[in-house]
């Protein structure tokens, strides 16, 4: 079996459905974090059959908001000094900055560098967000 050491300090994202690891990696990690990251795919799991895991070393400064949009069942473990320090709950974020683009082509957020579009959760079930600038509803996909 493939050996990957545990981390001393950092974040472990566990219990991701097989395949979701790459999605999370692309949205959360890729280009945004320059600490060591391990992505494990298709790890066997008693409960899930197969699962993915991501380990991010030496950082706690990761915007975990996005996880709620991908899968609320992901487990977030904060590791300090080699021990489990805290389990964080994954929730669908009420506010979003970045991650989505307003679907309204006439929205100022597409035209001005100063704009930092902020979205407010409109529907939890359909992951729809309301743009703070133009009030258009955009679905997270």
């Amino acid at each position: 079996m493939l050996e990957v050491n545990g981390i001393a300090n950092g974040i472990v994202l566990d219990h991701m459905k097989a395949g979701l690891g790459l999605v999370v990696f692309n949205k959360l990690v890729d280009g945004k974090i320059d600490h060591p990251v391990v992505l494990l795919m298709n790890v066997s799991s008693q409960a899930m059959g197969k699962k993915d895991i991501i380990k991010i070393e030496n950082t706690f400064d990761v915007d975990l908001n996005i996880l709620g949009l991908i899968d609320e069942n992901i487990t977030v473990n904060i590791i300090k000094d080699g021990k489990l320090f805290e389990k964080q709950e994954v929730v669908i974020p009420k506010k979003l900055k970045g991650y989505i683009k307003c679907k309204n082509p006439r929205c100022i957020s597409h035209f001005d560098n100063y704009v930092e579009p902020e979205f407010t959760l409109y529907s939890k079930d359909s992951l729809e967000y309301l743009c703070s600038f133009c009030d258009e509803i955009t679905k997270y996909e």
């Binding site: 309204n104 006439r106 929205c107 100022i108 957020s109 035209f111 001005d112 560098n113 100063y114 704009v115 743009c131 703070s132 600038f133 133009c134 009030d135 258009e136 509803i137």
Partner: protein
């Protein structure tokens, strides 16, 4: 009301009480214009029109001049630094040094909100794309108040292009806050109120009654306020559909035959042909007075946002 810096970007920036206060002050100014002729002496309004709109611009200019204030601004987007790629945030920072209050018309939705985030003077949204037009909403409210005595408990019908008409969107959202008895939406299938807006209204006000019909004649006898808008030919996919529907959305004396005596007919103007000239002489037609009232409610708004001290009771 407004000691800290306040803006009017969307009707939601004003509470119901503040709206009524503005409408009442506007009516007071309409009745006694001389009394307010100097209250903004020494103040400067910047009108920043990134999209031409002579009517809205003149209405604001007139409002400021009637208060004794002065104007700076532009009405031609080609003359501004917008073309050079300057951010609106920078523009408004600089304008803040030149003027005491600014009104802005912009084709991009949300542009005035962006400005408000960087401005040191009050910003008034004079229309942003198809999104909001809050001073038109105030104009509509002052008209309803003047002719119907109250903003509440009316049956309000909207006819025409309800899909793209931002004046309709703003007004319907606002009137929903004022216990409107019923909304009747009269439009072709192609130009119905956007379903996302309808959903937002019904989510927020579950008891709201919204009825959608194809023809005014079916409902005309119930209506207290009839709000007409223009239907543009280019909104239709084919000419045939347009021609078929065109005539059923032109208001004539015949189409209001069975209407209430005290129904009022409103229109944000300009009109093209959606209300025939014969209707102008009917006492229910109030759209020209609506334009006039718009100046006075804008006067009220300017004084309030500037924090000018005036005695409302006269």
């Amino acid at each position: 009301m407004m000691s800290e810096l306040r803006h009017l970007i969307e009707p939601g920036d004003l509470t119901n009480e503040e709206m009524v206060e503005l409408v009442d002050l506007g009516l007071e100014m309409y009745e006694n214009p001389k009394k307010y002729a100097k209250v903004c002496e020494g103040k400067i309004l910047a009108s920043l029109f990134y999209e031409p709109s002579t009517r809205t611009k003149f209405s604001f200019d007139s409002a400021m001049l009637r208060l004794g204030g002065s104007l700076i601004g532009f009405a031609d987007p080609n003359s501004t630094s917008d073309k050079k790629g300057e951010s609106l945030a920078d523009t408004i920072r600089v304008i803040s040094y030149y003027a005491d209050i600014a009104v802005m018309r912009h084709p991009k939705e949300g542009a005035p909100l962006l400005c408000a985030q960087y401005s040191e003077i009050p910003i008034i949204n004079g229309g942003d794309g198809g999104h909001q037009h809050p001073t038109q909403t105030l104009t509509d409210l002052i008209t309803i108040k003047k002719y119907k005595g109250t903003l509440e408990n009316h049956v309000v019908a909207f006819q025409g292009d309800l899909k793209y008409g931002r004046t309709v969107h703003s007004l319907i959202k606002t009137l929903a806050r004022f216990n409107t008895k019923k909304f009747i939406l009269i439009s072709p299938e192609e130009l119905r109120l956007p379903s996302s807006l309808k959903r937002q209204l019904l989510d927020k006000y579950p008891h709201l009654v919204i009825e959608e019909v194809l023809h005014l004649e079916e409902v005309v006898d119930q209506i207290d306020v009839l709000y007409c808008t223009r239907i543009q030919k280019e909104r239709f996919f084919n000419e045939e559909d347009y021609l078929k529907l065109k005539n059923s959305y032109i208001l004539t004396l015949k189409s209001i035959e069975n209407a209430k005596e005290d129904m009022i007919i409103m229109h944000p103007l300009p009109r093209v042909n959606e209300i025939t000239y014969e209707v102008d002489d009917d006492k229910r037609a109030v759209y020209f007075d609506q334009s006039k009232l718009g100046v006075y409610v804008r006067m009220a708004l300017i004084t309030k946002l500037l924090g000018v001290d005036i005695d409302v009771r006269g």
